[in-house]
């Protein structure tokens, strides 16, 4: 058998020959990267829609945690009134759940890299950051679900907003914006961890001390002095504080400024770290 004979014998015929140059989208470099990230975000959303069980941590988990905390600890913490504890707890639970919701992102990215799906993306002429940014953008949907589930189920068991709809929307927007910054830690861990299981382990070790060592579940004044010092700088304290103010009233401005500062800090530190780790990972 010689190559020449076989060439003529190919049953498929010539390769299809589109696309043409006119098929290209004329965009500047920055918009190209955004379009790539959105296309990749859509990919993540399709995957999520195909595996609804992957949404348990943003649907069922807030419900279970709200029930457990309200009815198991609520009475003890607020001197018998579970209802008044729910008013205090819900913003804190929203903060913890939305911080934990980013864990799956790092796990998924880690699995994608292990499976070789990202090799394809890395061999394409797209910005290195596009697959990571795309995955983070798609996570927006999960954070929105967290907010809707927590506030919706909270309403069913008696939580009432003491402010107004605008303040509530602001609380939701702030929570999602914070989560979109906070999840870069998970992205970074996803890039450096060897298995997706260890991503979860590392992230839980990080998030649980943050959420419990904050004003999410109990008033900071009940804690020992050394822990109060930690609570004061803890980003979740300030996120929860701002959200609490927006939902049930109370001081907002200070917490809001702290939260913005933390969001900026998280982005400045963890976006470059994640991108560098992604580039290094073969």
């Amino acid at each position: 058998m010689t190559n020449a004979v076989a060439l003529d014998a190919s049953p498929r015929g010539a390769l299809p020959s589109s696309p043409r140059s006119t098929d290209a989208v004329p965009l500047s470099a920055r918009w190209r990267t955004l379009r790539h990230a959105l296309a990749l975000a859509k990919r993540s959303l399709i995957k999520t829609a195909r595996t609804p069980e992957a949404l348990i941590d943003v649907t069922l988990q807030p419900v279970i945690f709200l029930l457990l905390f309200t009815y198991v600890f609520g009475g003890a913490i607020s001197g018998g009134s579970q209802h008044s504890y729910l008013q205090y707890l819900l913003p804190g639970m929203l903060g913890q759940t939305i911080a934990l919701a980013g864990v799956a992102l790092g796990q998924n990215l880690n699995a994608d890299i292990e499976k070789g799906v990202f090799d394809r993306f890395r061999s394409l002429p797209i910005a290195r950051s596009a697959p990571l940014v795309g995955a983070v953008l798609a996570d927006f949907m999960r954070y929105l679900i967290v907010c809707v589930m927590t506030l919706g189920f909270g309403y069913l068991i008696g939580f009432r907003i003491q402010t107004n709809v605008i303040a509530m929307l602001a609380a939701i927007a702030l929570s999602i914006a914070f989560a979109l910054c906070f999840c870069w830690i998970s992205v970074f861990v996803g890039m450096i961890a060897r298995t997706s299981g260890s991503v979860q382990g590392i992230m839980f070790l990080l998030v649980l001390p943050l959420s419990f060592g904050s004003s999410a579940f109990v008033k900071a004044s009940t804690l020992p002095g050394w822990l109060q010092a930690f609570v004061k700088v803890n980003p979740l304290t300030h996120l929860v504080g701002a959200v609490r103010g927006l939902l049930v009233g109370g001081p907002v401005t200070d917490h809001l400024l702290w939260t913005f500062a933390w969001m900026a800090g998280l982005l400045v530190v963890f976006v470059p770290l994640a991108l560098r780790a992604y580039r290094k990972r073969a």
């Binding site: 076989a6 390769l15 061999s123």
Partner: protein, 317 residues
């Protein structure tokens, strides 16, 4: 003709393993280079460096004149990569997989859909276009993966063991695909563990082992070195083994090995040996249950080139 792929003295170390210890590769535009070697020889590492997924420790590589380290972006615009493990997204349908790649290559969404449809059609995947890739067979997945690497009509295509794990019929089909790529003007670098595959497809073959090039030749040249093809005959009636041995000896011009299981085999030169053997067997009225002409296995190639068996065989033995 210019070289579409040229690599000089590539080295790469992973921890204590020297994956590449100075590899040179050159592929002329519009031709196929077969990179032949056993598992762990460094084939995949070389491909990953050429495809900009991995940085070499030292040495240089150029694709279409662009340096893979310094002009990675330009290189990525020219290449298509199909990995050893099909990197399609299992949760996406065939169409969704290809449209995504099209969008990442800056095609308008309408053009990306058109391109996806025509590639799926060409790869006989139209019927499965809207099914999740998870439901595809191994062969279908390979074809989808290859289609994904062709969305942008790359001038240079890397195929890393494209037929490993495929059954023989699917393998022939993949060979046809590779030939079509070349007919379309692409330059192909193909890694394989099979000499017959490299022989069927490649214009030139580079043999690598333990991260080093141990031979580079045309398929004909390489076959001359490793002893051409082997003719194997198994007579139906074992009593006629001696007659068969005599016939094979005449055709091959060498003393055949008669194995204990009633099989005679001998190295033969030239493509006429098979026909001639059939004619003589028929004239003598000898029926056979097996008659085959095959190229030496990778193991035999390595034995001829280096005097040692491949690492894998050593482990097994």
């Amino acid at each position: 003709m210019t070289d579409a792929i040229e690599a000089t003295a590539l080295t790469k170390r992973f921890g204590t393993t020297q994956a590449l210890a100075g590899v040179d590769l050159a592929v002329r535009e519009g031709t196929v280079l077969g990179v032949l070697g056993p598992n762990g020889a460094g084939k995949t590492t070389a491909v990953r460096i050429l495809a900009t997924l991995l940085k070499a420790d030292s040495g240089t590589a150029r694709i279409g004149g662009f340096d893979v380290a310094h002009d990675a972006e330009k290189v990525r615009q020219m290449i298509g990569l199909t990995g050893q493990y099909a990197s399609v997204d299992e949760d996406l349908t065939g169409t969704q997989n290809l449209v995504l790649i099209g969008q990442l290559l800056d095609l308008r969404t309408s053009a990306a859909k058109r391109r996806a449809a025509e590639l799926l059609e060409w790869f006989d995947l139209s019927a499965a276009a809207d099914r999740r890739a998870k439901t595809y067979s191994g062969g279908m997945r390979r074809r989808l993966d290859l289609a994904a690497s062709l969305v942008g009509r790359p001038a240079v295509i890397f195929l890393d063991e494209p037929t490993t794990g495929l059954d023989p019929a699917k393998r022939e089909d993949m060979w046809d695909v590779v030939r079509s790529l070349v007919a379309d003007g692409s330059t192909v670098l193909l890694t394989t563990q099979y000499l017959d595959e490299a022989d069927a497809l490649a214009d030139e073959i580079t043999v690598i082992d333990h991260g080093r090039v141990i031979a580079h030749d045309t398929p004909e040249g390489l076959k001359r070195v490793v002893g051409g093809q082997t003719l194997t005959v198994r007579p139906s009636d074992i009593a006629r083994l001696d007659e068969v041995t005599a016939i094979v000896a005449q055709v091959a011009g060498s003393v055949p090995e008669a194995t204990a299981r009633g099989v005679v085999s001998a190295a033969v030169k030239g493509d006429a040996a098979m026909t001639e053997t059939v004619v003589r067997l028929a004239a003598a009225g000898i029926a056979v249950t097996e008659l085959s002409l095959h190229l030496p296995s990778l193991d035999e190639v390595f034995f001829s080139l280096t005097g040692t068996r491949t690492a894998e065989t050593e482990e097994v033995a």
